[in-house]
C-alpha cells in the first residue's frame, strides 16, 4: 500500500514537471526594424529566447512608417494586437491621445526593476507624455555624417587626428565641399527625394539657426524655415548633392565610392561596418556628428521605445504583462549590443560604462549626446505624421529646385495649420 502511494505521488510529480516545464509564455512582438538594425535586433531576440525557458518571443517585422502604425491601430481595435511593439517616441504626442498605448504603472515597472532614473531625463520625459509612462525607452538615434576617409584625406580635409575639418561652420563646410566637388560628381550622397531624410537634416539646420518649427499654434514663425530650406537647395543647385535621389540610391552612391559624404541616421552604422567586415566596402569610412553650420549646436534625434498596445476588446493578461515587462527589462539591460546597431542606448548605466565608451565607431559621435534635439511635442510631428507628409510634398521639391523656399514653406504652413 505504501509502495503504491509512493508511486502514485511520484507519478503525479513526474506528470506535473512536464506541464510546468512546457508552460511557456509566448510574447507576440512587432517591430519595424529592417536592414542592419533588423539583423541586430533579431540576434538580441534569439539571445533572449535561448536564455529563457519560460518566455519565448515571437517576432514579426512590418513595414516602417504608416503601414506599421496603422496595423497597430487596426489590430488593437479588434483585439488582435501584439503583446509588445517598438514605437517612436516622437510619435507619442500623436498616439497617446488616441488611446492606442497602454500606460505602464510605476509598480509594474518596479516589478522588473525599471525606474525613471535609469534613463536620460529628456528621454524619460518623452516616454511619459500625457502624464503616465507609455513606453520604456530603448535607444536614442540621431543623424550623423558618414565620410570616406580615403577621399577626404586625398582632398586634404582630414587633420592630423583623422578628423574631418569641414564640420565647423557653414563656410568651412562649403569650402570643403568645393574641394570634393573637383574629385567627384556629387560630394554628398543624400536622399534628396525622401521626405523623412530631408526632414531630419532640415530640422537640424533650423535648430542650428535657433529657429522654431511649432510655436503657439503657428508653424514656422519668422523666416528661418525658408533659410533652412535654402541651405539645402543651395547644395543641390551647386551640384554638391544629386537631386531627387531615393534612400537606397544615396546609400549605394556612398558604398560604391561615388560620393565622399553620406548624411543619414546612426542606424546605418552596421551597414558600413558589416560591408567593411566582408571586404565589400572599398574604403575606410568614418562617422562624426553632423556638420554644425551655425551658432547653435543641434542634431536631430528620435528614440525607439517598447510599448504595449492598448485594446478595450482584448486587454493584455497579467501573465503576458509580466512576460512583456521581463522582455523590456532584459532588452534594456542588454542594450550594449543594440549599440552595435549605431544607436545610443537610453540606459544611462550602459552609456556610462567603459564598454560603451570604447565602442567603435560609436565613440566617434558620442558628443551628440549634448546637442541632440528632438521633434516638438505635437500630434503633427513624429514618424508617419502630417509633418513627414508635408516634407515630402512641399519641402522636398523645394530642395530639388522645383519651387522657391518661400512658396514651399507657405504651403507647409497652410497644410499643417489647417489640421490644427
Amino acid at each position: 500500500m505504501k509502495k503504491n502511494l509512493i508511486s502514485f505521488f511520484c507519478g503525479l510529480f513526474l506528470y506535473m514537471i512536464p506541464v510546468s516545464a512546457f508552460a511557456v509564455t509566448e510574447v507576440i512582438w512587432w517591430d519595424f526594424l529592417g536592414g542592419g538594425d533588423g539583423v541586430r535586433m533579431k540576434k538580441l531576440i534569439d539571445n533572449f529566447n535561448s536564455s529563457h525557458d519560460d518566455i519565448q518571443i515571437n517576432a514579426t517585422t512590418l513595414e516602417w512608417g504608416v503601414p506599421f502604425y496603422t496595423k497597430v491601430q487596426t489590430s488593437a481595435a479588434i483585439g488582435e494586437q501584439p503583446d509588445m511593439m517598438t514605437y517612436h517616441l516622437s510619435r507619442f504626442p500623436l498616439a497617446v491621445p488616441t488611446g492606442v498605448l497602454r500606460p505602464i504603472s510605476e509598480a509594474e515597472l518596479a516589478s522588473v526593476g525599471i525606474s525613471g532614473d535609469r534613463f536620460f531625463p529628456a528621454n524619460w520625459e518623452a516616454a511619459n507624455f500625457g502624464g503616465a509612462t507609455h513606453g520604456v525607452p530603448l535607444d536614442v538615434h540621431a543623424n550623423v555624417m558618414y565620410f570616406n576617409s580615403d577621399m577626404l584625406a586625398e582632398a586634404g580635409l582630414l587633420d592630423e587626428n583623422g578628423d574631418p575639418t569641414l564640420l565647423d561652420g557653414l563656410d568651412n563646410f562649403m569650402a570643403g565641399l568645393e574641394k570634393l566637388d573637383a574629385m567627384v560628381e556629387y560630394p554628398i550622397g543624400f536622399a534628396t527625394g525622401n521626405g523623412g531624410m530631408v526632414w531630419r537634416w532640415w530640422y537640424s539646420i533650423l535648430r542650428m539657426m535657433d529657429g522654431e518649427y511649432l510655436v503657439d499654434g503657428k508653424v514656422c514663425p519668422g523666416d528661418k524655415c525658408e533659410r533652412a530650406t535654402q541651405v539645402l537647395s543651395n547644395l543641390v543647385e551647386k551640384g554638391y548633392m544629386p537631386s531627387e535621389t531615393d534612400y537606397g540610391s544615396a546609400k549605394a552612391m556612398f558604398a560604391s565610392g561615388q560620393s565622399a559624404i553620406h548624411i543619414n541616421g546612426v542606424w546605418e552604422v552596421p551597414t558600413w561596418v558589416d560591408l567593411r567586415a566582408n571586404n565589400e566596402l572599398g574604403f575606410k569610412f568614418g562617422v562624426r556628428d553632423m556638420p554644425q553650420l551655425f551658432e547653435t549646436e543641434a542634431t536631430w534625434a528620435d528614440s525607439h521605445a517598447f510599448a504595449i498596445p492598448h485594446s478595450d476588446k482584448n486587454p493584455i493578461s497579467d501573465e503576458k504583462l509580466k512576460a512583456v515587462l521581463t522582455v523590456m527589462s532584459w532588452m534594456s539591460d542588454n542594450s550594449l549590443f543594440w549599440a552595435t546597431a549605431g544607436h545610443i542606448p537610453s540606459n544611462k548605466n550602459i552609456v556610462n560604462s567603459v564598454f560603451y565608451n570604447n565602442m567603435e565607431p560609436n565613440a566617434d559621435y558620442a558628443n551628440i549626446g549634448s546637442n541632440m534635439v528632438t521633434e516638438p511635442f505635437s500630434p503633427l510631428t513624429g514618424v508617419a505624421s502630417p509633418t513627414y507628409d508635408a516634407m515630402q510634398n512641399y519641402i522636398m521639391p523645394a530642395v530639388n529646385g522645383q519651387l522657391s523656399a518661400d512658396e514651399a514653406v507657405q504651403m507647409l504652413r497652410d497644410d499643417l495649420e489647417s489640421l490644427m
Binding site: T61, L62, E63, P67, I78, A252, A255, S256, P270, L275
Partner: protein
C-alpha cells in the same frame, strides 16, 4: 488567301517585333539585373547582358526570407479562391440563364452593378467584419472577400445561354432535376470556359495586393505580392536582390501563363461576350 510579301509588309512586321521587344524590355531588365552580382549592377560600365550570371541573389533571398511560407500562403489562398469562385458562380450563372424566378432581373442588375464598387474603399468595413468572424491572419480571411466574381457569373450565363435548349427540354421530360441538368449537361459542355475562368481567377487571386496587405499582420501570413514590399533584410546595395524577389514573386504565374497561354487568352476573349 495569301497576301503578297511586300516591302511594307516586312517593314510593318519588323516594327511590330521591335515594339514588342521594347515593350517587354523592363521585364527582361529586371530579370537580367537579378542575375548580376550587386557590384556589377551599379557599375558605371554596365551592360545589357550580365557579364557574369550568378544566382547569389536568389539563394540569399530564399535562405534569408520566409519566401517558402509566403508561397504556401499564396498557393493555398489562390487555389481556395479559384475553387470557391467557380463553385458559386456556376450555379448562379445557370439559374440566371435557364430559370425564370422572381428577382431574376434584380439579381442580374446587382451582379453588373458590383463591378462598379470601389472595393478598396470597403476595406475597413470588411476588416471589421472579418475580425468579428475571428478570421484575421487566416487563409479564410484572405479568401472569403475575394470569392465574389460578377464577371464569372456573367460569362457562365452567356455560355449557358448558347447551349441548345433542346438538351434541357429533353432532360426535363425525362424527369431530371435542374441540378442534374447542370452537372450532367451544361458543365461538361463548357469545360473549356471553366478551365479558362479558373486560370484567370487564379492569376487575379495570386496578384491581389491591397486586401491581404491590410488584413495580415503576421509575417508568416503574408502572401507573396505583399511580402515583397516588406523584405528589407538586405542592406548595403541590394538592387539585384530586390529584382530577385520580384522575379520569384512573378515567376510561378508567368510560368502558368506561358504553359496555358492559349487557355488564358481564350478566357479573356470570352469576356468580350459581355455587353455592358
Amino acid at each position: 488567301m495569301k497576301k503578297n510579301i511586300t516591302i511594307s509588309w516586312i517593314l510593318l512586321t519588323l516594327l511590330s517585333i521591335i515594339f514588342a521587344l521594347i515593350f517587354i524590355f523592363p521585364l527582361y531588365w529586371a530579370l537580367a539585373t537579378s542575375f548580376k552580382a550587386e557590384t556589377e549592377v551599379i557599375d558605371p560600365n554596365w551592360s545589357i547582358f550580365p557579364k557574369a550570371i550568378t544566382i547569389a541573389s536568389y539563394i540569399d533571398v530564399i535562405l534569408r526570407s520566409q519566401i517558402t511560407t509566403w508561397y504556401v500562403n499564396s498557393i493555398m489562398t489562390s487555389f481556395g479562391i479559384t475553387i470557391l469562385v467557380i463553385l458559386i458562380s456556376m450555379p448562379c450563372g445557370y439559374a440566371l440563364s435557364q430559370l425564370n424566378f422572381p428577382g431574376r432581373n434584380i439579381l442580374f442588375f446587382a451582379v453588373l452593378a458590383s463591378i462598379m464598387v470601389p472595393g478598396t474603399a470597403l476595406v475597413i468595413a470588411l476588416f471589421v467584419l472579418i475580425a468579428d468572424m475571428n478570421l484575421i491572419n487566416t487563409w479564410s480571411g484572405i479568401i472569403l472577400p475575394q470569392i465574389l466574381s460578377p464577371v464569372c457569373v456573367i460569362v457562365y450565363k452567356q455560355f449557358f445561354d448558347q447551349v441548345p435548349k433542346e438538351l434541357r427540354e429533353a432532360s426535363l421530360i425525362d424527369g431530371a432535376s435542374e441540378f442534374q441538368i447542370l452537372f450532367n449537361i451544361y458543365i461538361p459542355l463548357n469545360w473549356g470556359i471553366t478551365t479558362a475562368l479558373a486560370l484567370v481567377t487564379f492569376i487575379a487571386a495570386w496578384n491581389n495586393f491591397f486586401w491581404p496587405f491590410i488584413m495580415t499582420t503576421q509575417q508568416d501570413m503574408f502572401t507573396v505580392p505583399v511580402a515583397i514590399t516588406s523584405v528589407d533584410d538586405a542592406f548595403g546595395i541590394f538592387y539585384a536582390r530586390e529584382m530577385a524577389v520580384a522575379m520569384l514573386a512573378a515567376g510561378p504565374i508567368a510560368l502558368i501563363y506561358l504553359i496555358f497561354q492559349k487557355k488564358v487568352t481564350e478566357a479573356i476573349m470570352m469576356t468580350s461576350g459581355i455587353k455592358g
